[in-house]
Symmetry: C2
DNA sequence: GTCTATACAAAGATAGAC
DNA sequence: GTCTATCTTTGTATAGAC
């Protein structure tokens, strides 16, 4: 017999699953409690309130995303492939964990016009991780200021993939489109910056 | 004294403004009523329920976006510029109407895991308008199957811009990044043509 | 640490008068 | 068509026992 996880763990699992599937605000506390088979008092004893629980669940999920992504970066050899690994990681992330409707972090952000400090920090961490790691990988690939530009643009494309999934696109197709687009951006910024100058209005 | 708009109009205005600023689910009916200075019974007499009101407000906003975008397409001359006009339109749209946190349609979608039929249709209309118009403009620019691919990729980039705004990016910067990225995608799929070769057979 | 039972607040919707 | 007043449901959180 597998020993039953603690009430705390069950609550985190349930909160993560339901936030991923339905969104955090859309999920009532009762549903989390029912799924975790835990009583209300236990939740509030451990996490203070609903947002406290969600924040902990999001932090845990971000850590898992972080390590999945890092694995994919490590598996890649060429610098360009290391940059594109974020798309491989997204596909792997989506199949290894509870499937999310699009992105738990963007979803929580969209649902919460006025997040508390802890929640806001956690949501910002997701964006910061994206931009910072992409910038570090870019810097290894091309020198100077363009690294930040490249990181921002890949983040934009990556975010577009997530948004397309929210729009109802097939996830695999959206990821492939994003990857192809990002590859274009990488080559354009690495091969010379003439390609973007004509695009300004 | 400007004649006061009807209660129905005031309700639509209030619902649109608040959905744009805070999101639809996050905004209680009472707040809409307060802003519109209308009583509850009037709302339900006109729209049946909250979702009915929101759907009408979204339809009206979609029609305005549609015409703003079409104007920008018409103002552009070269086919590539017509494709990129969606970014010009986004900037114009955002300054001409009540500023929205990111995108009213994606926001409503993110907030509503199980939308009613009318709402789902309205939200899908937004995506359909994007993909269809971009595909039509693409077809005028390059022949054959790639038109659908190009439309999908520009939609992805455009959606990425909206997501970056949700992430907290400066809107102007995100739009410029998206436009540059889209220009890259267009040229790559057009077969390496430059902007000057606008007159193709 | 965890449970049962319950309090308290917010939100959506309706009744009936004018 | 619009208002005032109210009802119902749902959701968050707490009290007190084990």
């Amino acid at each position: 017999m597998t020993p039953q996880p603690s009430a705390r763990e069950r609550l985190l699992d349930a909160a993560e699953d339901l936030a991923a599937l339905q969104g955090m605000t859309s999920t009532p506390v009762d549903e989390i409690l029912g799924r975790a088979r835990v009583s209300p008092a236990t939740l509030y004893a451990h996490f203070g309130n609903k947002e406290g629980l969600v924040v902990e669940a999001l932090k845990r999920r971000l850590a898992r995303w972080d390590s999945t992504w890092q694995e994919c970066v490590d598996e890649a050899v060429a610098p360009e492939e290391k940059l594109l690994a974020v798309f491989t990681a997204l596909a792997r992330h989506r199949t290894s964990l509870t499937p999310s409707r699009w992105c738990v972090f963007l979803g929580a952000s969209a649902e919460t016009p006025a997040p508390g400090n802890d929640l806001a920090d956690t949501l910002a961490s997701d964006t910061r991780l994206l931009v910072d790691r992409l910038e570090a990988l870019s810097a290894a690939y091309l020198q100077g200021a363009p690294a930040k530009v490249l990181a921002d643009r890949i983040t934009l494309v990556y975010t577009g993939v997530l948004g397309m999934i929210l729009r109802g696109s097939d996830a695999e197709a959206a990821i492939a489109d994003g990857r192809a687009t990002a590859a274009l951006v990488i080559r354009a910024l690495a091969g010379g910056d003439h390609a973007e100058s004509a695009s300004r209005p």
